[in-house]
Symmetry: C2
């Protein structure tokens, strides 16, 4: 054990186990999580041969395929069915790889379960569960992403033989990006424009077999393949799909909600938004997932910052731990606070989803808009904050952060797509803004509105209650004030533009920057509120609560300082109050300092899950880096072939011009 | 040609050629640059076989080695000696690769030239130029980066046989990271602690042969190798080096400035800082280099944003070019302005370096501190802004930005190390702060100080002169005011802490966040000032100057809005004045919109240099993406071997439990 890390752990003022328990919903869940992680870590098959970064892309894909198939079997044998528990096992078993079948279990099967008829479920689900069918979800096209109404793939109904004819009429209409589509899947759910009786009926899901179930070769009319190497996710065969007059039976349209009858009559769903549930569910889970990414990066960067020493404090003295530098604390501790904030917020969003989902399932869509806005906004807000935070963590590790030995570049490339997939973040923020503007008249009128948005009607002329103590309540009020004011500003801007002669659409389009500011402020407030509420409700001892409260305050104060203009341009804070915040910020960094390592320990990631030479629990960073280097495939030969192929001939050629001297 | 892009070019209100000329210092240089780029593009050898991302790491290294050796020869044959001109050729010839011999030409040879004696230059330079010697610069150690006084490698002088004995006494003392050290180089300059006559004499450079010149095998006592795969730069063999009692003759210490005599007597340099020149030179050039990275990302993202369409504006109407969305403009146009700002600032810094360098060469070190602070600060400021900007450009390209087909991930991994190498950015900013605090008493006294810092003594009670027009002069004054105030705040904080009983060092350490704010504000002001000065001096026609002025204003206003708190917490701007800025920001986005494509065309990067399906000059984005996908190595086989190895057996195993149904 590195002595600096050992001392850090001795110095902590609280018991990390209590925090672990709070993060993972109680000691019983912590015990289960550890059991599954250990089972994966001790499994010989999953031990793997060499670091993922030493593998070619094909090797990465093959390893991923092998490991995830193996883990699927193991988890079934163990009777583990809960998706979160399965993830804990997989995260420790194959932290380095993305599952090429992730969309099979995560999107293909659930979509059939939710949108298929009873007959469709009976026909496809057993085969899917036994891997006879390996499916994916083919929505995104080369030219069409978040705006799904713009999808070009067509499914035209032919009543003469009761079939749909699927086509990719243009280059841009090719399906592009779906995970596992390139090589792994033999079927998929294709999102396509339904055409029947000569009319476009909007987008619907169709079950399409793309490869032969025995030979895995392409079905007639199907062209598909891998889309090529990417920033990350290279163990996945994200694919493309071109359909040319591919015929499928009428029964292959997912018909739980809308239907095409034998004669081609279209029966629309009773509610257009009935299918939104899955989308919202996925977005709620992205919040926790982002927190997972950032928290891992924080573990690595904070442990390493306690081990790394740089620059003597007094001439000739020992070099300081870099975690003792205020500038380093100012980068890392707000991110640590952000990781906690997003964990708690994600958990809250998931609970809220479950609550509303049962209402929706029962046909009550009243709260869907509210839920939809919250999840869209938090998805965008959390992925932006967490992925940017991962990069900051990497940069905080200096040069070594850049090596794949650190594990952080992989975290970044793994989590940054979250800003784009499942709804592009800027579009998400504008959806939040649209929701807020829609209920704005109610807010202003003081009508009955949800507690989430009630504060938006507050009196904007009020000033902050902030004192030198910097109470959490005053911090939260500041966030509420800013969100209310920015919303009011955006609304006023739109009204001004309309008054000056623009159409409402033009005025909206010329105000999207201001609307985005308002939407972000709304999400930010949501996170601060959730964080402070969960900390205040937490059943932990006083020393633990003190530490969590300090983190929560840091999160809020840092959020204010980073966006200070938005909090003070209307004079809400006096300059004096701002100085309280700045002083408190510096005090909090010093206050959190002795607990920083214990706070990352509390995330309870086994070393294998982190997959990082810098983030090791024992702090043996440098021997691990040396080991990683020695094992680099480049070092298998003392002299590479390329020396003989390129360097030697160049030297010979050059030395014929300038004769070689002796050293 | 994509019709949208064609129309963008027709709509431009200025002549891009004038801007190109301004960027590259006149039409003659533009002509040369194009000549060299075309020579590289048309060269059959350099045409290459397949995209870099389709290659294994060994293939990337081999291709890079082959191409750069070839280009070295070609450039010599063409008689091109200017490093910038050589870079233009190489950038177009092998945009995809990092030269494994970059440090040979960029650091090894120049260091011998600058710090070697006449005899040393005669001995080593001809061999280095003919590649008999391939060298690198081994400074960074596994445990020691920016704080070079902390380096642990020792060179102990043994007068009995007039040799130095070099050792890596610990794991942390191993050299780690130097480019080309792992496999390519046969010698290097090792930075080591000199010990002679029983005393440590500080760090010095030593020429050490690490591999046999004939066989390329390791010399006795030398262990070296590649450090393994990284986020990027994988065509380079960044290496490690462990020295165990490696003996080199006394004449191998670089002795132009300091010397060790035969008997071991140490002769120190006349001035300790004499070697700073190279370091400052490199940092000045990093500014322009960062601009190059960001500008390439802007070309890709802006052209793509003009081609990409997303979301219908009116129901059933065509989808809009995404560049028409205000939120997209608000992300991309300030970055475009930043790219220009950094180009101009880098050019200015290089000129300033040349001016001071000749003074330094003549032994006059008076301006060295000023130059050192400016270059350290601009290096940090530009790398932070440009690398974060590259990522924003990538995210602005949606999903496709994530594919290596976009070319942007590679730009990011190529440029982000600039935040760390040649002086870690946070340390750089604190060096700027140290310089500013050092001259602060002179500033307050109104003593004779350099024009760069004069404004820092301005009266802080003054308010902004900003009017609705938003004049450049008022914008610059705002930056100056903010920098002066933040410096004054940091100084006051330190004084308060000292008065409260802390030592000066403790007070400094507890104020580094505030000091960094002040240093960043100083650098920001420098960039705004340089940008506005170069635009105002530019010999271009009125329409061109108008466009550049709009960009410059956008850069400044965006800088204010992004850091609004710092500009208004003391009431410098009234709320009314802030609203002028916000309105002007929105107006400028609309004003720049029709010229955006022409402004990126003006950077004049041939397609091959960009290496991007999204950034193509002709806008044929989608066919290019399709082509890239089809050529993915994964698609060479319709069915991968892994299907037979892993999927098929799993299906068989599963179907024995649940018998296979018929689809």
């Amino acid at each position: 054990m590195n002595p600096d890390l050992a001392q850090e752990r001795r110095r902590a003022t609280f018991d990390p186990e209590q925090v672990t328990s709070l993060l993972y919903r109680g000691p019983e869940n912590v015990r289960k999580r550890r059991y599954l992680q250990n089972a994966a870590i001790q499994d010989q098959v999953l031990r793997g041969s060499k670091p993922w970064a030493f593998q070619s892309r094909v090797e990465q894909y093959e390893t991923a395929l092998q490991m995830f198939i193996y883990m699927m079997k193991k988890l079934d044998e163990m009777g583990v069915t809960d998706p979160l528990e399965r993830m804990y096992y997989q995260e420790a078993g194959a932290p380095h790889y993305y599952n090429p079948m992730a969309l099979h279990t995560g999107m293909f099967i659930p979509s059939i379960e939710k949108q298929g008829t009873k007959e469709q479920k009976e026909r496809w689900l057993p085969m899917a569960r036994s891997l006879q069918l390996i499916g994916t979800y083919a929505q995104t096209e080369m030219g069409h992403g978040t705006f799904i109404r713009g999808l070009e793939t067509t499914a035209s109904y032919d009543p003469s033989n009761q079939e749909f004819v699927l086509n990719s009429p243009t280059v841009t209409s090719m399906k592009f990006w779906p995970g596992g589509l390139g090589k792994t899947s033999n079927c998929c759910l294709v999102m396509a424009q339904l055409i029947t009786q000569g009319k476009k009926r909007g987008i619907h899901l169709f079950f399409v077999q793309i490869r032969d179930l025995k030979t895995h070769r392409h079905m007639p009319g199907v062209e598909s393949g891998d889309i090529g190497p990417k920033f990350g996710f290279n163990s996945n065969d994200n694919g493309y799909l071109k359909l040319s007059n591919v015929r499928i039976p009428r029964e292959n349209m997912l018909m739980r909600y809308s239907k095409v009858l034998e004669d081609g009559t279209y029966v629309p769903p009773t509610n257009q938004r009935i299918g939104y549930g899955t989308m919202v569910f996925v977005r709620a889970h992205i919040v926790t997932n982002s927190a997972r990414g950032l928290s891992k990066a924080c573990v690595i960067a904070i442990r390493y910052s306690a081990v790394r020493r740089q620059t003597e404090v007094s001439p000739g003295g020992p070099e300081a731990q870099i975690i003792d530098y205020q500038t380093q604390q100012y980068k890392l501790f707000p991110l640590l606070a952000t990781a906690y904030a997003m964990y708690f917020t994600g958990r809250y969003a998931e609970d809220y989803y479950e609550q509303i989902a049962s209402e929706i399932e029962a046909g009550n869509l009243e709260s869907l808009n509210q839920l939809h806005a919250v999840c869209a906004g938090l998805k965008a807000f959390s992925t932006w904050a967490c992925t940017a935070g991962i990069e900051t963590c990497r940069l905080c590790c200096g040069g070594h952060g850049y090596s794949h030995a650190s594990g952080i570049p992989k975290l970044y490339t793994y989590y940054t797509p979250g800003c784009t997939y499942e709804g592009e973040n800027n579009v998400m923020m504008l959806q939040v803004a649209r929701f807020l503007m829609k209920i704005y008249p109610d807010i202003k009128r003081g009508g009955p509105i949800h507690e989430f948005v009630q504060y938006l009607g507050a009196d904007l002329t009020q000033k902050s209650c902030m004192t030198e103590e910097v109470a959490l309540g005053c911090l939260l009020k500041a966030f509420q004030h800013r969100a209310a004011r920015l919303l009011s500003d955006a609304a006023a801007r739109i009204e001004n533009l309309v008054r000056s002669g623009k159409s409402r659409q033009e005025a909206w389009d010329a105000s999207t920057v201001a609307l985005t500011w308002a939407a972000k402020a709304y999400c930010h407030t949501f996170v601060v509120r959730t964080f402070s509420q969960i900390v205040s409700d937490a059943a932990v001892d006083k020393s633990t609560k003190d530490v969590l409260t300090a983190l929560c305050k840091l999160y809020a104060i840092d959020g204010i300082i980073e966006n200070l203009g938005e909090f003070i341009e209307d004079g809400f804070f006096s300059p004096h109050q701002v100085s309280f915040l700045k002083n408190k910020l510096a005090d909090l960094l010093a206050e959190i300092r002795p607990n920083a390592v214990a706070l990352v320990d509390a995330f309870d990631y086994p070393d294998k899950t982190l997959d990082s030479c810098l983030g090791r629990y024992d702090g043996q960073v440098y021997p691990a880096l040396y080991e990683y280097a020695k094992n680099s495939p480049f070092n298998e030969q003392e002299v590479l072939d390329s020396y003989h192929k390129f360097i030697k001939p160049a030297q010979t050629e050059q030395s014929q011009r300038a004769p070689m001297a002796r050293l």
